[in-house]
Structure formats: C-alpha cells, structure tokens
Amino acid sequence: MIASLHFFLFFLLTLGVYYALPHRWRWLWLLIMSYVFYGSLSVKYTVVLFTMTLISYGLARLIEAQQDIEKKKLYLRLGIILSFVTLGIFKYTGFFLSSVNDVLDRLGANSHIPLPDIWFPIGISFFTLQIVSYIMDVYTEAAEAEPHLGKYALYVAFFPQLLIGPIERASHLLPQFTNKVTFDYQLLVEGLIRIGWGFWKKLVIADRLAIVVDRAFSDPSAFSADKLALATLLYSIQIYADFSAYCDIVIGMAHILGIKLTENFNHPYFATSPIDFWRRWHITLGNWLRDYIFRPLNFAARRNFTLWIQTRNVLLVFLFSGLWHGAAWTFIIWGILHGGYQAVELALQRRARNKKSKSKPAWWKTAFSISVTFGLVTFAWIFFRAESVNDAFYIIKTIFTWGNASAGGSLWDFTSAFERQVVFLLIMILLVIEIAQYLSKKPVWEFIHRTPLTARWTMCLILIYSVIVFGYYGEVDPTAFIYAGF
C-alpha cells in the first residue's frame, strides 16, 4: 500500500491541500485523509478504528477527571482490557480455535469447533499499542488527556504511521498537529530523497529477494542445505530492507508535512549483542515493551530480584512480543528465542558486572560480536519466516547436518540469465551504503542533500532511474510490506 504510485499520488494531493489550508484546519484535513486512506482498504476497518478511538478517548478523560486513585486504576484496567480483547478477537480467535481443535484431534475426538470467518483490520496491532500507551500515559500523568476528540482521533489514525508504525507517544505526536508549519522547500527535498531511498530498498532489494526467499520457504524439502542457508541469510536482508524502507518512506512523508516521527532503526545489524539489537531494531516497539511491561515488572520485583525473576521477566516480555507479531507458534518460538538470548546475556552481565572494563574493545572483538549477534538474529528469523514450526525445524536440521544434498531445487529463475548476479551486485551496493552510513553516522539522504547542486541532482536521478530499472514489479505484490501482516 505504501510503496505504490497510487499512494504516492494520494500523498501529493494531501500535501498540496495541507499547505493551502490555514493552520487551524490542517488537522481536520489530515484526519479526513487518514480515514479515506483506511476506508479505501475496507470501510468496516474504519468502524473498528473509530470505536476504539472513541472508547479510549472517553476513558482517558475519565481517568484524568477522577480524583480517587482506585477509580483511576479501574478505568485504566478497563481501557487496557477492552483494547487487548478487541485485538485478541480479530487476531487470535482463529489461532486459539485451531489449537483447541489440534488438542481435540490428539484426544481422538470426532467433533471440531467450526472456525468463524473473521476479517483482520490491518494495522490494529500497531494502533492498539498506541492507544494503550496513551491511556497509560494519562494515568501516570506523563501526558494530558486530549480534550479535542478530532485531534485525538488523528493521533490514532495519522495515515503515514497507521498501518505499521512507528508506534508514537501522545506527548510526542499530538502537539505537532497544532504546530504552525509553513511550507519549506528544504523539508520537501529532504523528505523526497528519503522517500526515494525507501523505494529503492523496498522495490530494488526487498521485493527481489522476496522471490528467492519465498521459493525456498514455501517448499524447503526441495532444496539442499547450502540453498536453505543462503535463503535464510537473504531473508535477514529482505526483512531489514522491507521494514526500514517502509519507515524511511513514512518518516519522509511526515517530514514534508512538518511532523517528526520517531526513528525505528539504528543500524540493527551492527548490534554487538542481542540486547543491543533490540535497542536498534523496531525501536518504538522495544521502547513500548520496556516502558509498559518490562520496567513495571522489574520494579514490582525489586525487593527480591533474583536471577530467576530476571530471566522470567525477559521471557515474559518476549513471549508477549512474539504473540503480538502473529498468532502462530512460529512467532511464539521466535519471541522466546530472543528472550532466551537476552536472559543469557543478562546473566553473563550480572556475573561480569564488577569487572567491566571501560576501555573500548579492539576492532576485531567488535567485529566478532557483530557477527555472532547477526548469526543469532538470523537463526531466529527462520522461525519468523517459516510457514510452520515443522518447516523451521526441518530447515535448521538440514542446514546443520548439511543434508538433502541430492535435492535439485533452484533458488534462481534461470530464464533471466543474470538474476543471481544482479541480486548480489545490488546487495553489495546496499552493504556499502549501510557501512558508510554506520561509520559516518550520517544517513544517506542527508549525505545526498548536502552535496553540491549538480552532484545532488545526479545522485537523485541515479536513484530514481535505478528504482525504475532494477525495481521488481512482478509476481509479488510490491505494495505489501512484511510488517503489514502483523
């Protein structure tokens, strides 16, 4: 939806009218366009969105107005429960019932619970977290309850980040809707370059890799160990290119509207440990988990903070994270794996706490830590991507025993002779740009924007040209993002 020409035109229309309108009406225009955008996917989605908005708006106002702390707590609980129950009904009913049916099967029962036909309001996982954070913030007085229903509705529905985040906090996003922004050519150019870079990562890298990765994961038994290992590695690159591209596109769009969204990535594959990874990957989700689950859990246990409690808390948080990503055992295992990584790292830290040296580690130690972390993360992605738990274990077993050598499946479509060479060349280009961004601590769009005029235009044209020439526009739907499935 986001990386499509239709959406880009929709954005240009929104943008033109936005700056033509006087300040005081702009929020209304953004709200209308957000509902038009969401309604264009399905009108019934907007009913869910609006109902959840209305309920949380009312509860937050009740929490703020109430003096009695017990009653405040009651409204808070009601708000959290209603939000997650709604999410649960749309997201987990099918998973829950089919799990019950599995159990019935094993017990030898003949009857099954029929699976109801439930539609899934895309984006609900993201805006539910945003709604819950708002109610919590009003309760803890980190944010004031927004008196204006329309502006609050825009906070929940703001179209660039409605479907896949970044998951914003009310105190950060809401005041920006009333900021007096005047049209700025600088903002426009910066934003457009960033959007262009996002389109490049999505259409040139992610969607090309998707073809290869999908071939391997849709039928792993047809491939030998080396091909499954390669497909797994390529998936690591695909999911990063896909999700970070989305973030670049929407943060760039909001930037042009004069609205600053929170960054979601900070070179995640340069992380030196699993904990470091979660400070760099999907940052707004990590912060949400930290502030609303992890810290309160740790605080509650502070008088009795054993290694076991520490481990339990990390596992609980990542079990939640896994379940939030998807209603399937694969995601649950993925979450527990990441929780396990961090629990081990924390246990090691606890032992080394007093010995920690302050000097910077040697470069080869850093490189080693980065490689190990990347390996652990890539291993966990197998569960994230596999179609079933059995598939995931099959892939792992095949790779680690270097088995299935006789399988003849090919990852590449040899009707296009250069497919493999093109893909590797493009990945190399991405890698070089990523390393340059990491070392210079400067994002590529900023770099392009700061070069002299002629060089800047040349780079922009190369970027646009390569999106058109190397972008992948077949087989897979280029408008779908992996994270839109959550």
């Binding site: 702390i69 980190a142 810290r295 605080f299 509650a300 246990a301 008088r303 903070f305």
Partner: protein, 81 residues
C-alpha cells in the same frame, strides 16, 4: 545536602562509578550500565536512601533524572515528620 547531591551519591553507588555527576536532563543514554535492570535497583536504592516508597504509577513517568528529583522532593514533602 541537597536532593541532587544525595541522589548523586546513590547513582555513584549503584553504577559503581565515582565520576558520575547527575544533571536534570540525564537519561539512561548517558550511563552505560543503566539498563532496565539497574533501573529497578536504582529506584530501590533511592527509596532506601531517602526512606520513601514509590508506587508503580509514579515510576512509569520518569523521562529523566530531573523528573526523578521532583518526585523525590514531592515524596519527602509528603512524609510525616
């Protein structure tokens, strides 16, 4: 001693670093060892040091050290003498 000076002592004790100088805008980014776990230990040490007790509602709204100082001062003012 002011709340800030006393809090500085607690920080140095918890993070085992005598060079720490707290300031209002300080967050976990400024101290390497300040993670979600030492955060809980830090709050517990603050409670013990000042002989106050926090509710979970209060500790969820602590964006920086300045907010923590304000919370401590409020708690000390509420404390029966």
């Amino acid at each position: 001693m002011s709340v800030k000076d006393e809090l500085n002592l607690v920080f140095r004790e918890v993070f085992k670093d005598d060079s720490i100088e707290v300031f209002r805008e300080m967050t976990e980014i400024d101290i390497d060892m300040w993670d979600s776990f030492s955060h809980a230990t830090l709050l517990m040490s603050v409670e013990d040091h000042f002989d106050i007790s926090f509710a979970s509602r209060e500790i969820m709204n602590l964006p920086n050290v300045g907010a923590l100082m304000d919370l401590i001062e409020r708690k000390l003012a509420e404390k029966p003498r």
